[in-house]
């Protein structure tokens, strides 16, 4: 099972759309695609709508990206997480980190709105 990634930029963020499986074979390429985007400093959205399986190595890769983003002060959010992937992420604790990221992003959005 392979993984393809497509990049899309809109006004507020860079969106990376992943299709396939994120596992030990494909996570290296994903990491190589994501790290430069993190370094750009724009908010990053990872769209997992077309990803039906994320292995242990895949989850670790996503967390490494999240940590790199934290280090760089960049917001990373996950989108389109399937029920099964979400359950696996929840059971293994990975979702906690991303939920925190999503919550922080939502909070920042709310604050920005309030400031207007």
């Amino acid at each position: 099972m392979t993984l393809s990634v497509k990049e899309r930029r809109n006004k507020t963020a860079t969106v990376l759309v992943a299709t396939g499986e994120i596992n030990s074979e494909t996570s290296g390429a994903l990491l190589q695609a994501l790290l430069p985007l993190v370094r750009e400093g724009r908010p990053l959205r990872i769209d997992l709508t077309a990803v039906d399986y994320v292995s242990s190595a895949g989850l670790r890769t996503l967390l490494v990206v999240y940590r790199e983003a934290q280090h760089a002060g960049v917001a990373v959010t996950l989108y389109g997480v399937s029920e099964e992937v979400r359950f696996v992420m929840s059971a293994t604790g990975f979702l906690d980190f991303f939920s925190a990221g999503e919550a922080a992003a939502a909070e920042a959005k709310a604050k920005a709105k309030a400031a207007r």
């Binding site: 370094r39 280090h71 929840s90 059971a91 293994t92 604790g93």
Partner: protein
């Protein structure tokens, strides 16, 4: 530009030096043992003292046949350790094992057989039993497959809770049984993730420590029996038959089929800690799943039989465990293995303590003789990594060694106090002349633990092994026919009483008495000095239909029925309030055994004994009533507990209280709910302060304290 943290540091040893079996390799590092991901590859290290050669066997994940076999070059051997780094492996998608060649001579203890693929004793993940209850393909040559994993879990700010031992309230639970019942309502029943969803229940109950039945990888399908009445398959449900000591059981993880059991278990532990609950593991180092000479070869037998097992001079297995073999725990290599294992669970899983199954074996020498100063027990007591963990011994074994009160403690070890269990059970059922020993037991068993303090005693009335609390008051005899062993398994000395009818009944009087007896048991347990342990489900009257050995019953006999949380809400409320009461009164948790010395300013001793008349306990041979008053440790309250196992009421004369205090009623198990117990701090002042009528087979708990103007009304 900041350099990415994910970029690797270049290392000289990240390059191969040899080629073996088509793979680029180099000499590995002997330590740590096991399979460890290193730059560019995986380092494999395994010990065998007598092997003449060692081969690493690699599989693609799930494939029946190996993809490669790599014999360790002689120069990759240091002492008796074979170590090799293999480059270019996709660690997530391989399984591995070893072939060890050497002498096959059972009389001298050697059972090498290079045809067998052996599991790595240090494997941190095991594949092959990924989903609970799935019938394995026994035709496959290699059943329990070692896997490689990263140990990079993000613990965030998780730190050990280090709850003082005397403050613990232990809840003994089975990972699967706790949420497997359809009534549990969790997303993934019977798993670590399922248990995680029930943390709020545990918090509300008030327990601050969960002790889990074995979670090291075992094979639930290794029970050949079936239920003779129904034909249903029986399992090894409890799991006291370890296959792999470093690996969490995959079948207990909802994500086990993905090999993520390690992360799932760690996430549970992390969340339990966040809820203020410690985690103790029930560990089984006295024997392994390899059985005796008839048993399977999984790992130790083929790697170094003579090192790992206690063997007779003829090469047979000593059987002090009752299960076929006995681990040679005090052999220097084996004790280091046990230490490595426990360090792994503390460092990599943040485990807070361990309960050691049949721990008396851990004090035996290679020929089974009990050692005066067992090196393993001393090692564990002083180890830097284990330093603040709880160490609890089941201080007996199947070979007849009974060390309750005498376990080599090194100032660290606590014990399951079997004498506490037996004495309180005997008292509860109404045996005469138990009051003297009851006094000793509820005061923290100073006869057994003088100098070790009360928290050396883990007090319990029920545990996984034996009757549940509801069955203790419903059955005179065990009913284990469903286990397929002709009712010959399980203990016969249960000190239980069925209250007049064997098993379920519609008689309201008997059911009321049973309810009261359960409350009596809980009231005594939670007001005793020592660490209380509650069996999961006892707070809602979980029954095993009289089966006192449900080791094989993966069904409703064992599972926690969550409907009972509502059905038996009164008993649950009683348990919660008792736990809260214990937490509120430091004198119940005092670590020093009470001596009867007077407390300054209170005019009462730290402990005093009473009967129908204050200050006149009845220690005679037919006594069935005892009252105890404690005071003066941490607060000014006096806690008075009257325990009446007699079938008649008694008029109690209460001891006079020092100035400004009066007696308030906290609990009277003779009262119907909700008047059986109150919220701690909201006890009701007695209007007849000098007297109290205790009903038949009842426990009464009073608090002597200054009157709280907020509390109104009298009884």
């Amino acid at each position: 530009m900041t350099e990415s943290r994910s970029e690797q540091v270049l290392r000289v040893d990240a390059y191969p030096t040899h080629e073996v079996g088509g793979y680029r390799v180099r000499a590995g590092k002997p330590f740590p043992f096991g399979a460890n991901v290193v730059p560019g590859g995986v380092s494999f290290s395994v010990f065998s003292d007598q092997a003449t050669s060692m081969t690493l066997v690699l599989f693609r994940r799930g494939e029946p046949e190996p993809m490669a076999e790599l014999e360790f070059p002689e120069e990759f051997r240091t002492g008796s350790v074979f170590a090799m780094t293999v480059f270019g492996l996709d660690h997530e998608n391989i399984e591995y094992g070893y072939r060890a060649d050497g002498p096959y001579d059972p009389v001298t203890g050697h059972r090498f057989d290079a045809r067998q693929i052996l599991s790595d004793p240090y494997a941190r993940l095991i594949a092959g039993r990924d989903v609970w209850g799935v019938e394995p393909d026994r035709g496959r040559g290699y059943q329990y497959r070692s896997r490689v994993c990263l140990q990079d879990f993000d613990w965030a700010d998780d730190t050990p809770l280090r709850i003082p031992a005397e403050d613990l309230v232990v809840y003994e639970a089975h990972v699967r049984g706790f949420t497997r019942h359809p009534s549990s309502g969790v997303t993934a029943p019977g798993t670590f993730a399922g248990l995680r969803e029930k943390i709020p229940y545990l918090r509300e109950l008030g327990v601050n420590c969960i002790e889990l039945l074995p979670v090291f990888e075992f094979d639930e399908s290794d029970n050949p029996r079936s239920n003779p009445e129904t034909g249903e398959k029986l399992y090894d449900y409890w799991g006291y038959n370890t296959v792999s000591f470093f690996a969490p059981k995959a079948g207990y993880a909802a994500t086990g089929r993905y090999g993520m059991q390690g992360d799932e278990f760690r996430t549970l532990i992390k969340d339990l800690h966040a809820a203020g609950i410690e985690v103790i593991l029930d560990v089984v180092f006295n024997h392994t799943a390899e059985g005796n000479e008839q048993g399977p070869t999984i790992s130790f037998k083929g790697l170094d039989n003579a090192t790992y097992y206690m063997l007779t001079p003829e090469g047979y297995y000593f059987n002090f465990s009752g299960t076929g073999n006995t681990v040679n725990c005090n052999h220097p290599v084996v004790r280091n293995y046990v230490l490595d294992c426990l360090r792994h669970w503390v460092a990599d899983y943040h485990i807070d303590g361990f309960r050691f199954d049949l721990a008396a074996i851990l004090g035996r020498s290679a020929d089974g003789t009990p050692l005066p100063n067992p090196p393993l027990l001393e090692l564990l007591a002083y180890d830097p990594v284990l330093r603040h963990t709880k160490l609890i011994a089941e201080a007996w074994d199947a070979g007849g060694l009974y060390e309750v009160g005498n376990f080599p403690a090194y100032g660290r070890w606590a014990e399951w106090n079997g004498k506490y269990r037996d004495t309180v059970r005997s008292f509860l059922k109404g045996d005469p002349g138990v009051t003297g020993e009851l006094a000793t037991r509820i005061a923290g068993s100073p006869d057994l633990y003088s100098g070790r303090g009360t928290s050396a005693s883990v007090n319990f009335l029920t545990a996984h092994d034996g009757f549940s609390l509801a069955d203790l008051v419903s059955y005179n005899d065990k009913h284990n026919e469903a286990n397929g062993e002709g009712n010959n398994d399980g203990g016969n000395d249960n000190a239980s009483w069925n209250c007049g009818v064997e098993g379920p009944t519609d008689d309201p009087g008997i059911n009321a008495l049973r309810e009261r007896q359960m409350k009596n048991a809980l009231a005594i347990l939670f007001t005793s000095q020592g660490i209380p342990m509650l069996l999961s489900g006892d707070e809602v009257a979980r029954s095993q239909q009289g089966n006192n050995n449900t080791y094989c019953q993966d069904n409703e006999l064992s599972w926690f029925d969550w409907d009972q949380v509502d059905e038996n809400a009164d008993l649950l409320r009683f348990t919660r309030e008792m736990i809260a009461f214990r937490k509120r009164h430091r004198e119940l948790r005092a670590t020093v055994h009470p001596t009867g010395r007077m407390r300054d300013g209170l005019g009462l001793p730290d402990i005093s004994w009473h009967g129908e008349r204050a200050w006149q306990p009845d220690w005679s041979g037919d006594a069935r009533l005892l009252a105890v008053a404690r005071c003066g440790t941490g607060d000014d309250d006096v806690v008075y507990v009257a325990m009446n196992a007699h079938w008649e009421s008694h008029d109690l004369e209460l001891p006079a209280l020092p100035g400004g205090r009066s007696w308030h009623l906290f609990a009277d198990t003779g009262n119907e709910a909700p008047y059986d117990i109150r919220t701690p701090g909201a006890e009701q002042e007695l209007d007849n302060a000098g007297k109290y009528l205790i009903g038949p087979r009842s426990v009464v708990i009073l608090v002597g304290r200054a009157n709280d103007p907020e509390t109104t009304g009298t009884l």
